[in-house]
Symmetry: C2
Subunit: 199 residues, 2 copies
């Protein structure tokens, strides 16, 4: 995954940069990437039309920046929570919970990440492949430590991402019941991951 | 979930209806719903512009019809495979495999279903909630039969949909390795579902 566009260093420029970013995130969420123009963004951000191009070469470059920033924030947030725990069980529980709480706090996350599938499929692939690579690294360590069974950690990484994404969707879009009790839901997930489905 | 628009009954009308549908599915996949006009669809289908409205009141109505048709096909295909098996373990394995093979055969499926999130969020919610309701019904029976543990079948249904969707994405978009060996991947999934992650 690419690196984000560097933030400007002066206070004023940084504020403008962030106004543009916030406006874009709000409009992409509300009207979609294709339904949002650079003009919409600068108007919503309250900056002159030409200002946009001082910071971003194009709408696509801005979108990529938003995607990379979300990706970094998700990883950083999860890594911070997970690093406080010592066993794989606790790490997994904290990671899943951190993701769900983050998605609850930023409901635009799913929309904007998944929209990459309609903007440039390679961005979507890159997003999940690079997320999986980090997951696999952690799981491989836990196999070595004999905390988890010796299984295909690549497939497991997609399984765990799938679980986390769909449980997150359930909570964020309020599908079904119990969605205010994140701890209860995470407990059910961990119960399956620990004991399996069958009798 | 609503019912689809009824297919016309005469042979000619049915052919035109299906030409329009096929053109729409292809263009929605390639250029997205918002990037596709009714004119694009009729041109691609090789029918006169006005013909569209003999069959569909609007582009949105056509999109909803496509979504409902995909939904019915997925359910029918999975139900047909699952009904041949007697144990919950075998049913789950067949269901997951059927979904992945279907997604492989119709790579437009994901794009078009997930795009509902950007067209009308209620369609997306409705899609997954009604899918979950059917899943829960099956799982509840298996709890009664004492084939699976007495767990929250609603949460389990989202967990299993998440696993199936992300494993399907891995195969369809060729994320990581082993994606030509669907049986191998389904075996890894079943191993986790049966024995859990931890030692």
């Amino acid at each position: 995954m690419q690196t984000p566009i560097p933030e400007p260093t002066t206070r004023n420029a940084k504020a403008t940069f962030n106004h543009i970013l916030d406006a874009a995130i709000e409009l992409f969420y509300k009207n979609g990437y294709h339904g949002t123009t650079v003009n919409n963004i600068t108007k919503h951000a309250g900056v002159a039309a030409g200002t946009f191009y001082l910071y971003f070469p194009s709408k696509l470059a801005l979108y990529k920046h938003v995607l990379i920033t979300f990706s970094h924030n998700i990883r950083r947030e999860i890594a911070a929570k997970v690093s406080l725990k010592s066993t794989r069980y606790e790490k997994e529980r904290e990671g899943i919970k951190a993701f769900i709480l983050l998605a609850k706090k930023h409901p635009q996350m799913y929309n904007i990440i998944w929209e990459s599938l309609y903007i440039d499929r390679e961005l979507f692939k890159d997003y999940y492949e690079s997320f999986a690579l980090r997951y696999i690294r952690g799981l491989n360590e836990s196999v070595k430590n004999e905390e988890i069974r010796d299984i295909d950690t690549e497939v497991i990484s997609y399984i765990l991402m799938g679980i986390t994404n769909f449980i997150g969707l359930k909570v964020v879009l309020d599908l079904g019941t119990n969605n205010n009790d994140v701890d209860y839901i995470v407990d059910q997930v961990m119960d399956l991951i620990q004991h399996g489905l069958f009798k």
